[in-house]
Symmetry: C4
Subunit: 200 residues, 4 copies
C-alpha cells in the first residue's frame, strides 16, 4: 500500500508547537514594572520566579516527551487523545500564572497551580500507557519507560500540595519545587537504553 504510516512525527511536531507557544506567551502575562529603574524588578520578583518555575516545568515535560517519543514507533487515536489531554492542562499554565500574579499568590491560585500541573502529570502518565498499549509491552519504548516511579511520585506531590496551599502557601510551593528537582535529572532510563546505539 502506498500511504504513509501513522508515525509519531506529527504528534511530536504538534506538541512542539503547543509547548513552544505556552512557554512563550507566559511572558505576555507578566506586568511591566511601573517605574524605569532596576529596583522596580524586585516588586516583580515573585511572578518572575513563578515564570522561571513554570518555564522549567514545561521544559521538563517537553524534554521527557522528547526522550520518550524518540523510542516510539507508532501512534494511534488513544495516544493522540492522551497527548491532547496533557497539552490541555499545560495550556492552562499561563492562565494560572496570571491568576497567581493578580491575586498576589492567594491560597486558591496556589492550589490551582498544583491541580493544573498534577493533571498534566496524569496526562503524561496516560500518554505513556497509551504508547505501551500501542507499541507492545516488549517494545523498546515500553522497556525504556519501565516502572515510572517519578511520574507517580510527582502526581502524589502535586495533589498533596493542593490542600496544603490553604494551610500555608509556602508548603505548597516547596512541594512544587521538589517535583521540579525530582525531574530535573533527565530521564536516564531511556537515555541508558539508547547509549549502546548512540556511543557504541
Amino acid at each position: 500500500m502506498s500511504g504513509r504510516r501513522l508515525g509519531p512525527g506529527r504528534v511530536e511536531a504538534f506538541t512542539d508547537g503547543v509547548v513552544a507557544i505556552i512557554i512563550t506567551i507566559m511572558v505576555l502575562e507578566l506586568k511591566v514594572p511601573e517605574t524605569g529603574n532596576l529596583h522596580a524588578l524586585i516588586g516583580s520578583a515573585p511572578v518572575l520566579l513563578a515564570y522561571v518555575l513554570s518555564f522549567v516545568n514545561v521544559g521538563l515535560f517537553w524534554n521527557n516527551h522528547h526522550h520518550m517519543f524518540s523510542a516510539v514507533e507508532r501512534v494511534d487515536g488513544r495516544v493522540m487523545w492522551a497527548n491532547l489531554f496533557l497539552l490541555f492542562w499545560l495550556s492552562l499554565v499561563p492562565f494560572v500564572i496570571r491568576w497567581l500574579d493578580e491575586s498576589a499568590f492567594a491560597a486558591g491560585a496556589t492550589a490551582a497551580y498544583g491541580i493544573v500541573l498534577g493533571l498534566a502529570a496524569i496526562g503524561y502518565s496516560l500518554t505513556e500507557r497509551a504508547i505501551i498499549a500501542c507499541n507492545g509491552k516488549e517494545s523498546a519504548v515500553a522497556r525504556a519507560i519501565g516502572s515510572d516511579w517519578k511520574g507517580w511520585g510527582s502526581i502524589a506531590l502535586y495533589f498533596t500540595g493542593v490542600p496544603l496551599a490553604f494551610v500555608s502557601r509556602w508548603f505548597a510551593i516547596a512541594l512544587y519545587v521538589a517535583v521540579v528537582a525530582l525531574w530535573l535529572i533527565p530521564d536516564r532510563r531511556i537515555v541508558r537504553a539508547f547509549e549502546g546505539e548512540l556511543r557504541g
Copy 2:
C-alpha cells in the same frame, strides 16, 4: 528532475502550527477570577466549559486532519486553499469564545459559535473533496474517506443550532455538544484502511 515534490508535508506542518496557536491562545482570552479562592472558579465555570468544548473541537479537527493526511500522496493549490479556508474559520474560534464570555452567552454570540464551527466543518469537507480530486478516486485516501456522513451530519447540526440559539441557547449548545460526541470516535474509516499495514 531534481526539485522536490509538492507533497503534503508542509501543509501538515503549517496546519499544525495554526492549530497549535489557536488551541493555546484561547487561554489568553480567559479572564482571571477576581478573588484568590477556588470558589471564584465557579463564576468562571461557563467560559471554562466553553474553553474545554472548543479545545476538544479543535483537537477533533486536528486528529481527523492527521488521519486523513497520513494517506495523502500529493497536494495542489486547491487543497491548500480549501485547507486555508478551514484554518480561517478555526482561527475565529478564540474570537467567538471571548464574545461568549463578555456577553455572558448571549443568543447572538451562541449563534456565531455555530456559524464559525459550521463553516469550519464545510472547510473540512472542501479539503476532503480537493484531496480526492488531486489524488484520484481510486487512491487510498479517497477510498478511506468514503461517504463522509459524519461531515455532512455535523454541518447540518451546526446550522440547525444557529436559529435555535435565538429560541433557547441551551438547545443550540446541546447540538454543539452532540457534534463533538459524534466525532469523538476517531475516524475508524481511515484507521481501518491502515490496520493491515500497521499490525499485519
Copy 3:
C-alpha cells in the same frame, strides 16, 4: 563529510511558524461586539473584512512561498536574511490592522497598510533573487520563477495606493484588493514545471 546540508527545510519550517502565528494572532486584535446580538457584527464588518483581506494576503505569500521553495535545493545566508526581511514586514500586518480598526480606517493607517505590504512584496522579490543567486540561473527554481511580472506589478500597485490613500481611502483599498486578485491565481509557472513529474 558527515554534517547535514544547509537545505531549505528549516527556512521553510521557520517561515511556516511565523506565518501561522501572524495569521492567528490577527484575530486577537479584533474587538468583540459590545452587545450579544448578531446585528452587532455589522459594526465590526469593516475590520472583519480587513481581517479577511489580510488572511488571504498572508495566505497568498505562504502559498507562493511553498510553491517556490518546493523547487529550492540549497539556501545561504543571503536567502535567510531576505526571507527574514519578508517576515519582518509580514509581522507588522497585525499592527496595521489594529491601527486601521482603532482609527476607523484613517488615511494614514490605510497608507501604512500599503507600505507594509509593499515592503513585504519587495522582500518576496529579494528572496526570489537570493534563491536564484544561490541555486544558479540554470536551476529548476530559476527557470520556474522566470520573469516575475506579478511580483513587480504588486509592488507598483501597493506603492501607488500609498499616496492615493490621502486622496481617497477607497481608491487605495481598491488597489490592495486588485493585488490580491492578481495573486489569487496560484503560481502556475512553478506548478507547470512540476506537472510532468507529478502527473507523468
Copy 4:
C-alpha cells in the same frame, strides 16, 4: 535496535517554534498611534526602532543557530537544557521591549535589555560547549565553531552596556547596536566548512 536516534531535528523544530513566536508577538506589544495620520508614526519611532533592533537580534540568534545545528549529529540532555536556557532569555525580549516603551527608554529598562540579551548570548555559548562535549572535539561542528571570539565579544559588550545605561542610555544603546553589527556577518566559520560540500 529499532528506536530512532536522539538527533537534532526536534531541538531545531522546537527552537524554530519559540523563536518564530518571540519574533511575532513582539509586535503585539507595540502601541498603535493615537491618530490616523502618518506623522503619528514619528511618536512611535523609538519603540519601532527597538522592535527592528530586537527582530534583527533574534534573527541573528536563529541564523547562527541554524548554521551551527546544520553540522550537529547528536544531542543529549545537556544540549537541550543549554538550548532551553538560551530560549528562556530570548523569551524575555518582548517583556523588555514593552518595558522600554512604557518607561520611555528609562535607564533601568535599558540596562535590563543588556542583561537579557547578555544572558541569551551566554546561553548560546553554553549550547556551543554542550554540543562540542556531545559530538566530540574532533567532530565537524567542533572544528567549525572554533575559537568563538564573537560570542565572547558580544557577552562583554552587553555587560559593559548594563552599567553604562545609568550614565547615558545612548552609550548603552550604541553598544547594543555594535553587537548586532558584529554578528550581522553570517557565521563564516561554519559556512566555510561546508563550502566544499555545498559547491564542490
